[in-house]
């Protein structure tokens, strides 16, 4: 869209609008109400509901304002008897076969059809014939479908196609018999639930929330996703201390992700009120003994005495799932309470080398959507950073961006790519080296790529104008990430801006890196300390199997669930989940966003930063927060440069997120890193065996209700019985209606009676068990 202004007259008033602007948007910006159902910004135009009719001078018929591009001198009327008649007529048509069962509809109270008809008031019922009946059904255990309420706006099929690239649902049949359905009966897709979210009526419904409450009985709390590093904004619907559902409906929340969420963010909230949450503090008085319930006073007292004995040998580990406030408080505990330099993050991925070598700023998701060129090296955003994946897809589909993927696996997004450089397994580091040091031609044979492919890539970048975004996955080593972050700036030119986008795994990976500056490595901390305070659980299995934990004198774990880590704990302190806490997460674009308490902490749980502060106070150090999250945030903001001056009031509006500016390092000498990469390349075998076949999104098997925010990654589910507790969310495993796995050989794992602890063992997850 150019910034050239043209004149448009609406209802007699003249406006200067941007050339190319869409009439419906312009009218709405000027507060002229235009009803619509099928129009949805940034989706393909549909023009099928015919609600948005307006009169444009010199045009023969009423026109759909959703399809009209403003032209200079256009004269538009949005309100007249003729227009009102037409709009009411469309409403009347939509209600003709509609069952009018709002009183039993889960969308009642937040239905756009209901709202529009109510706004008109006196709708005469002229339809006296009998309504066509179509039975309701489940498309999958979490997507319920009541076709009779459908107005065929096809927002659902468009988001499935355009956002998800899944194309799992489509309209079937014809005319008035048209229904939204699946290919072959059972919804074979990533179960993102976006079709449910965008559905303006009660047709597609959250199967896990069926008939639980009326929407208006829910308290809506705007918060941040606790799974992905994209920092998606969502609204937690809670009532009576329970989280009932999570949505991103624009009537409740207006964040960077719009109405987009994924299966984890939307449906993976069953852990909050799960029966297996740790209810009270627990003490294991004797190594090898049992964890025994106790009071907070007793537990804090016990911990204090033990930590005092250990002195500065206490190590501190924080999960990157925790809020900035909690991670920062854990670091303060190490430095100010036990005087230890042994503090770290439990994540195996170290983001410090990346952030210390930034040569250009981080991209925002909006910038990704409007980028002209995107280079993705490794990673699996469709599974791990789903919103980023959606932005990439739309940049290509709707924005004509060029996508270049360098990967050892042909992930699904390669279908969208202008260029796919298929490298040998585990050779992404080597590629990073080749990309940074174009003089070294020996590397290519090790990566299994041809010089011409690299030339094409560089040509494509060289010719590109507009924003060029480089993103890379966790499958690149810290050294490789450092090198790429540092060379990115070389591609900038007058016509081309370069931006970086990291793809870390956890909701607060970036915040954890910021909070825990100056940290030691996890293994150093585990080796060098005799006692440990662990916020969350460890996610690195080797750290456990190596027997580190079993050799410690004393271990305190702040957790929501009993996990493999708490098996080594002497004291377990019940921690609050993200839904029970106030705080902040920092996402992969540097946005600091609020986490808000939706429900009271369950049982005796407390926010992690409060637990840590309580121990500190008992040990004689008052952090001065006075148990106020805003105060905790103020303290951290004042001690970390990038966050300087930030306060909660600045973070109030989720539609205007605040980006912390990570310092841009100048050109640096990275010979140490490149040498390390080179040694890695030298050690690589000469091979040309490629990974073929595109993996389905997801790797492990989980039960929806037992998914915690630790849950690594997963995909779908599906068990015949549409009760959420029977939903298996898995990766490569999909289930038939009868509960048998679709892909036999992948079918280890959970049978219908599994609990969290079983799933943890069978699927090898949940070592890291808390928010």
């Amino acid at each position: 869209m150019s910034t050239e202004l043209i004149k448009v007259t609406i209802n007699g008033q003249e406006f200067a609008v941007e050339k190319g602007a869409r009439l419906i948007d312009v009218c709405r910006e000027q507060a002229f109400n235009i009803p619509s159902f099928c129009y949805y910004q940034d989706l393909a135009l549909q023009a099928s509901c015919r609600m948005c009719l307006v009169r444009i001078e010199k045009m023969p018929k009423l026109q759909t304002s959703c399809t009209i591009t403003c032209t200079d001198g256009m004269i538009v009327t949005t309100q007249s008897a003729e227009i009102e008649k037409a709009q009411r007529a469309m409403g009347e048509f939509l209600l003709a076969n509609h069952p009018l069962d709002c009183p039993v509809c889960d969308r009642g109270g937040e239905c756009e059809l209901q709202e529009m008809i109510f706004d008109w008031g006196d709708v005469e019922e002229r339809f006296v014939e009998s309504k066509n009946a179509t039975p309701e059904k489940f498309l999958s255990p979490i997507v319920a479908n009541d076709p009779q309420r459908c107005i065929l706006c096809k927002r659902c099929t468009r988001v499935c196609d355009e956002w998800m690239g899944e194309d799992a649902i489509e309209a079937g049949n014809r005319g008035v018999n048209t229904v939204i359905g699946t290919y072959g009966g059972w919804l074979d897709c990533s179960q993102c639930g976006n079709c449910i979210e965008v559905c303006p009526t009660g047709t597609l419904l959250d199967g896990t929330y069926r008939h639980e409450t009326r929407p208006w009985e829910l308290d809506q709390t705007i918060s941040t996703d606790t799974y992905s590093s994209d920092g998606m904004q969502l609204s937690i619907g809670s009532r009576g201390g329970r989280v009932h559902r999570i949505v991103a409906r624009d009537r409740y929340v207006d964040g960077l992700n719009g109405e987009f969420l994924d299966v984890k963010a939307r449906f993976g909230h069953g852990f909050v009120n799960h029966e297996e949450r740790i209810k009270t503090p627990l003490i294991r008085y004797k190594k090898g003994g049992k964890l025994i319930p106790t009071t907070w006073d007793e537990a804090i007292h016990f911990v204090t005495n033990k930590f005092k004995e250990s002195g500065n040998n206490v190590g501190v580990v924080a999960s990157p799932r925790l809020t900035n406030e909690s991670i920062f408080t854990l670091k303060r505990f190490a430095k100010e309470v036990v005087g230890s330099e042994n503090y770290t993050i439990s994540d195996v991925e170290d983001l410090a080398p990346f952030f210390n070598n930034l040569s250009v700023p981080l991209a925002t998701h909006k910038e990704i959507r409007h980028a002209k060129t995107i280079l993705l090296i490794g990673g699996e955003p469709e599974e791990e950073q789903t919103f980023t994946a959606k932005q990439i897809r739309q940049a290509v589909r709707n924005g004509g961006a060029k996508l270049i993927i360098v990967h050892d696996t042909p992930i699904r997004l390669t279908a969208q790519a202008s260029q796919f450089i298929h490298v040998n397994p585990k050779s992404l580091d080597a590629f990073a080296l080749a990309f940074a040091d174009k003089s070294d031609k020996t590397i290519l044979s090790k990566i299994g790529a041809a010089q011409s492919e690299i030339d094409d890539l560089l040509k494509l970048i060289g010719e590109s104008e507009g924003d060029f975004i480089i993103m890379f996955g966790r499958d690149l080593s810290a050294e490789a990430q450092a090198v790429l972050a540092n060379v990115a700036g070389n591609f900038a030119s007058e016509k081309r801006r370069v931006l970086l986008h990291p793809l870390p795994l956890y909701n607060n990976s970036v915040g954890a890196n910021d909070m825990m500056a100056g940290r030691k490595s996890l293994s150093d901390v585990l080796i060098n300390s005799t006692a440990l305070l662990i916020g969350g659980s460890l996610s690195k299995p080797s750290a456990l199997t190596d027997g580190f934990l079993s050799r410690k004198d004393f271990i305190v774990v702040q957790e929501m669930f009993e996990t493999a880590t708490t098996e080594f704990a002497d004291v377990v302190l019940p921690a609050a989940s993200f839904a029970e806490t106030d705080g902040t997460f920092t996402n992969n674009t540097g946005f600091v966003q609020r986490v808000r308490q939706a429900v009271e902490p369950v049982h005796q749980a407390k926010a992690d930063w409060i637990i840590t502060s309580m121990i500190a106070r008992e040990m004689g150090v008052d952090f001065g927060y006075n148990f106020s999250a805003p105060a905790a945030f103020r303290t951290l903001a004042d001690s970390i440069d990038a966050y300087a001056g930030l306060r909660y009031p600045h973070l109030k509006d989720e539609s205007k997120p605040v980006q912390v500016k990570h310092p841009i390092a100048g050109k640096k000498d990275l010979s140490k890193e490149t040498d390390a990469l080179r040694r890695g390349v030298e050690a690589m075998p000469e091979t040309n065996e490629k990974i073929i076949g595109t993996p389905k999104v997801g790797h492990k098997l989980h039960r929806l209700t037992t998914m915690t925010s630790k849950t690594a990654q997963f995909h779908l589910l599906a068990h015949g019985n549409p009760k959420p507790e029977n939903l298996l969310v898995s990766p490569l495993v999909q289930f038939n209606l009868d509960g048998t796995p679709r892909v036999e050989e992948k079918a280890e794992a959970a049978s219908a009676g599994d609990r969290i602890s079983d799933v943890k063992r069978t699927a090898g997850v949940t070592l890291d068990g808390k928010v």
Binding site: M51, A96, N97, S130, I151, L152, G175, V176
Partner: protein, 438 residues
């Protein structure tokens, strides 16, 4: 079945009576493919100029000037250009294209090739309805014959003009006759219409410039090249050039395909003399639907003694449209409520379901017609039906909704006496099963 020209030399029907008229041999013996040769010696602009001069208007129903449509194709577009023949012929009452393809397939191929040459296209598609499978076999055979004679394919007649002709069948949906739905179907998608603009001439098949023309439109092209645009035009009138095929059905003695010069006078003579008069001598003419089911029905007294001219302007003046030339003659035994109910069911059945007014409106209207047929009509139903038609007309996504509205509006406005008893609760009295089927 009568197939003849009246008031002019047969042009469209020139060869259809000949034995083996579908073969290349017979076609070429009758000057076939001569006009392609002639066209290939002309400049593309000159060809388009002749078509413009001929005032040929699209014979598919909308009557859009063909030469103008062709000139909308952007010449400098680097994209492929496509010629698509709309042989879906699904408008109730229309069956002329079928005769042309069955008896004179090479005329269509020649017409398409001339269009392709004029528009710098290398690919032509013939899209027919699923029920016309047997025509596709005839067309395929003709294409193969033409290919063997170097008339289709690479370097046609030794020139550097190459052009392929492909055939494709839909699954038998009325909506796939609408040009943009046809293109969706041709691409393999559901037969949904697409937004206009962009018009097919700019962004059609595979988002490339595409000309969609009816069979009869394309078979007229070689005639225009032969005679020159002006002479062809002068067969008809200044604004409605050339000759036109009418598919005559209903209560006449000689139903069939008739070729008339545009501006033929008059409709009364056409029905009562040319078509052999009323099927049963004792039954009077009640009405005519002159242009396929989608146009306004005419009352007998708007025909008899009115000297209605059979061309675009004449029919508009008489309160209807040429449409596709599906000429349905109705005698006094027909209950217009019953026949309109039947048509409404057709539109409901064929509504693609994309847009609200047509999808829900046609379903609702069928329910109302069913109700009144069962004796549950109410006086206010006439107003309700008209209001629903008004709410569909001009508000639907494509012209199918408009067509449904016109068919019903025409009937209820022009035959109120047929509706009146029903609206007072009378049951259907139709004992004439044939009346339900046209």
């Amino acid at each position: 079945m009568e197939i003849k020209a009246i008031g002019c030399e047969p042009l469209q029907l020139k060869r259809v009576h000949l034995e083996n008229s579908h073969t290349l041999k017979v076609y070429q013996e009758n000057d076939g493919y001569k006009w392609l040769k002639k066209a290939m010696e002309m400049s593309p602009d000159a060809i388009i100029g002749e078509v413009k001069a001929s005032v040929l208007r699209g014979r598919g129903g909308a009557g859009f000037p063909t030469g103008m449509k062709w000139s909308f194709v952007p010449k400098d577009s680097p994209k492929q250009k496509y010629i698509v023949c709309n042989a879906d012929e699904s408008e109730p009452g229309t069956f002329k294209d079928r005769y042309l393809m069955e008896r004179d397939p090479h005329a269509l191929i020649e017409g398409m090739l001339i269009a392709a040459f004029a528009l710098n296209s290398q690919t032509c598609y013939i899209y027919t309805r699923g029920e016309y499978k047997y025509l596709i076999d005839i067309m395929d055979e003709a294409v193969e014959e033409a290919r063997a004679a170097n008339l289709v394919g690479k370097n046609i007649l030794g020139s550097d003009f190459s052009c392929e002709v492909y055939t494709h069948t839909g699954a038998g949906a009325y909506i796939c006759g609408e040009e943009t739905a046809l293109l969706s179907s041709l691409e393999g998608y559901r037969g949904h219409p697409r937004m206009k603009p962009p018009f097919p001439a700019v962004e059609g098949l595979y988002a490339s410039p595409t000309v969609v023309n009816n069979v009869e439109t394309l078979t007229a092209v070689p005639q225009i090249i032969e005679m020159g645009g002006i002479s062809w035009r002068d067969l008809g009138t200044e604004k409605s050039g050339g000759t036109k095929l009418w598919s005559v059905s209903g209560h006449v003695k000689k139903p069939g395909v008739y070729e008339l010069p545009m501006g033929y006078a008059d409709m009364e003579r056409f029905i009562l003399e040319d078509c052999g008069g009323m099927l049963r001598d004792d039954k009077k003419l009640k009405g005519v639907i002159p242009g396929g089911s989608s146009v306004y029905i005419m009352r007998a007294n708007d025909v008899i003694g009115k000297k209605v001219l059979m061309d675009y302007e004449g029919l508009v003046a008489a309160g209807s449209l040429v449409g596709s030339g599906g000429f349905i003659v109705i005698d006094e035994t027909v209950d217009i409520v019953d026949s309109t109910k039947n048509l409404t069911e057709f539109y409901k059945h064929e509504s693609c379901g994309w847009c609200t007014p047509c999808r829900e409106g046609t379903d609702w209207l069928v329910k109302i017609f069913n109700r009144i047929a069962e004796g549950n009509g109410r006086p206010e139903d006439a107003q309700l039906i008209l209001d629903l038609c008004d709410n569909i007309e001009g508000k639907s996504f494509c012209a199918l909704g408009d067509a449904a509205a016109w068919a019903i509006q025409g009937a209820i406005k022009r035959f109120p006496e047929d509706f009146k008893p029903y609206l007072n609760g009378q049951k259907t009295t139709s004992t004439e099963p044939e009346a339900r089927k046209f």
